[in-house]
Subunit: 350 residues, 2 copies
């Protein structure tokens, strides 16, 4: 803990002033002028150096059967980098290489919750599709990650400093005769949140752990009851308000970066938990194939993608603008934003 | 402020202990046994007395054109009670009584944001549909409401007490040699959140105001730039992660209580802001009619609805279970939940 305390002291002043600035924005009635940039404008103006390329080997490409009008439906998923969820992601790479998902289906669409895909017969031992050899069983301890690399260590330090700054601001409030509304404080689900290597995370300062969070579009691993943690063969993505209660209870492995509308606009299932009820007619959508972009036919060039580096000044300005909307439409900046309301910008490389 | 301070002192102990209990739940590793009830089980077991009926005059019924298979698509919206947004809701009652929306359309579907409906030609003065007489212009000050009734006063007192309790818990943490992870604290968008008369709200203790919040399924009033606040003729509903930055910037008037899937699963628009791009073919969905349930033909009986009273013990148990999932699937209760992840249960009256 000593390490945290030291960093905490070092970061206190800066973080506190940032928070107080946020507080004053929170108090501000009208918008400032001249009209500042909207978050999308900040992203559009971000220098090329602030964007980080995504390796083709970290892109999972899911082709669904064409829609009713014969239009193709492609969903592109970015897999998480180390130190996050690599056990499950290793399994997912093996499943993709084995073409295991080809011919499987989207079996569950629950409104304001998740879309889930995999073997439609997974629960029927007699009909279940055999898994490829070499998949590993990942322990529940892998739902969180310790300070195993510099980015995690720095994020934990930022969280500790930010939290300490919040405590200082709140303590200052306590000493005022009249209570005033302070800056936004904390996260209902953790002591603090942050971004690491382009991904939203929450953290526990006491035991120095961080974990990815269930924001809209994040992709996770379906599982049976504990201690089962899932192989990665059964996947889901979030299509509603962030179900943060799933954090640390289930593995996250990536996020949809293109084509989520082909999942989020699917007809809802009317069986238990939003699974399709075959008695009401089979509304399942077929999966033609799932491949790593690095293993796709080279005769069809696949686009490259990049994300706005969460360590960049552009991202800091974007996150601040998301928390304090000052563009013309807004009359009252919130003074804060939850981690899932600051989606990391991702784009095709021009 | 004196009134708040008194209540604050009175509520401090109870709220603090509740929060500390929540904190210890947050620390807890495994689930408790015997397996406690899931939130849905708590709702199912709630006594009839804990449910509050919704007046037919507070239900807005939107019938869309049938889907591709000829199936009817009906969306039921519950309007907010006083003291919330009554200026806009009065306009909406007039628009429904005038059958003004009949023949209009759903013009915008933006993924992870909103579905919006109204006059497709609203922006074209020459073609725009004339509004009925008697609509009022509502001031921006009506985005928030003061302690105008006992429910708001009590909610503000709870918020003040809860926030004071949080400060006490955090101050206690500060005095510990080693920092530990405390209870979930606050809301990134306000000093505190609560529920009033069945609706999620956020509050400002300093100026004694509360306001409804943009959770999934909430219905709001489209508007032009400030000081315009919209008439109520242009409406939208949230179909993604709660866009809380819109709170206090735009009016909320109700929520979808049935049939939201007919909106959330519509094809996404590909024009600016998710409006349909007619150049890509007209994907707009037609609105056959919007009526108050109390003004619908009596030959077709309309179902009655009720919500789980947010002042009831059942709701308190449900909210606690949402914040501390202890049912079998979960291995780690979050120890908190954001106001939009505690949807108020609504059901048809049996």
């Amino acid at each position: 803990m000593r390490k945290t305390s030291i960093v905490l002291t070092a970061l206190l002043a800066a973080s506190a002033s940032a928070l107080i600035a946020q507080a004053s924005a929170n108090q501000a009635a009208g918008r400032t002028s001249p009209s500042p940039l909207a978050p999308s404008e900040i992203v559009a103006k971000a220098p090329k150096a602030d964007w980080t390329g995504i390796a083709a080997s970290d892109l999972l490409v899911m082709d669904l059967t064409p829609d009713a009008k014969g239009k193709p439906r492609r969903v592109v998923i970015q897999l998480m980098p180390p130190p996050f969820s690599q056990g499950w992601i290793g399994n997912i790479r093996k499943l993709a290489a084995a073409h295991w998902w080809d011919g499987t289906a989207i079996n569950r669409v629950q409104d304001n919750y998740v879309v889930q895909w995999g073997d439609p017969n997974a629960d029927d031992k007699a009909k279940a599709k055999a898994l490829p050899a070499g998949l590993v069983a990942v322990p529940e301890s892998a739902y969180v990650t310790g300070a195993s690399n510099i980015e995690v260590t720095l994020a934990l330090a930022r969280m500790a400093g930010g939290h300490a700054a919040e405590l200082a601001v709140i303590e200052a409030q306590r000493q005022m005769e009249e209570q005033t509304d302070g800056p936004s404080v904390g996260d209902p689900y953790s002591i603090a949140t942050d971004f690491i290597l382009g991904w939203p995370v929450a953290g526990a300062i006491a035991d120095q752990k961080v974990w990815p969070v269930h924001c809209y579009g994040m992709v996770g691993v379906g599982r049976d009851l504990s201690p089962n943690t899932g192989t990665g063969a059964e996947l889901y993505t979030v299509i509603g308000h962030a179900p943060r209660h799933l954090d640390r209870n289930i593995a996250l492995v990536g996020r949809v970066i293109e084509g989520i509308e082909f999942l989020s606009s699917l007809p809802r299932g009317h069986g238990a938990l939003g699974f399709y009820d075959l008695a009401q007619g089979d509304e399942r959508t077929g999966i033609v194939s799932i491949r790593l972009a690095s293993e796709m036919p080279t005769d069809k060039p696949f686009p490259a993608y990049e994300y706005l580096s969460t360590e960049s000044q552009s991202f800091a300005a974007y996150a601040d603008a998301r928390a304090n909307r000052r563009d013309d439409f807004f009359i009252r900046p919130a003074g804060g934003a939850d981690v899932c309301n600051i989606p990391v910008p991702v784009r095709r490389v021009k």
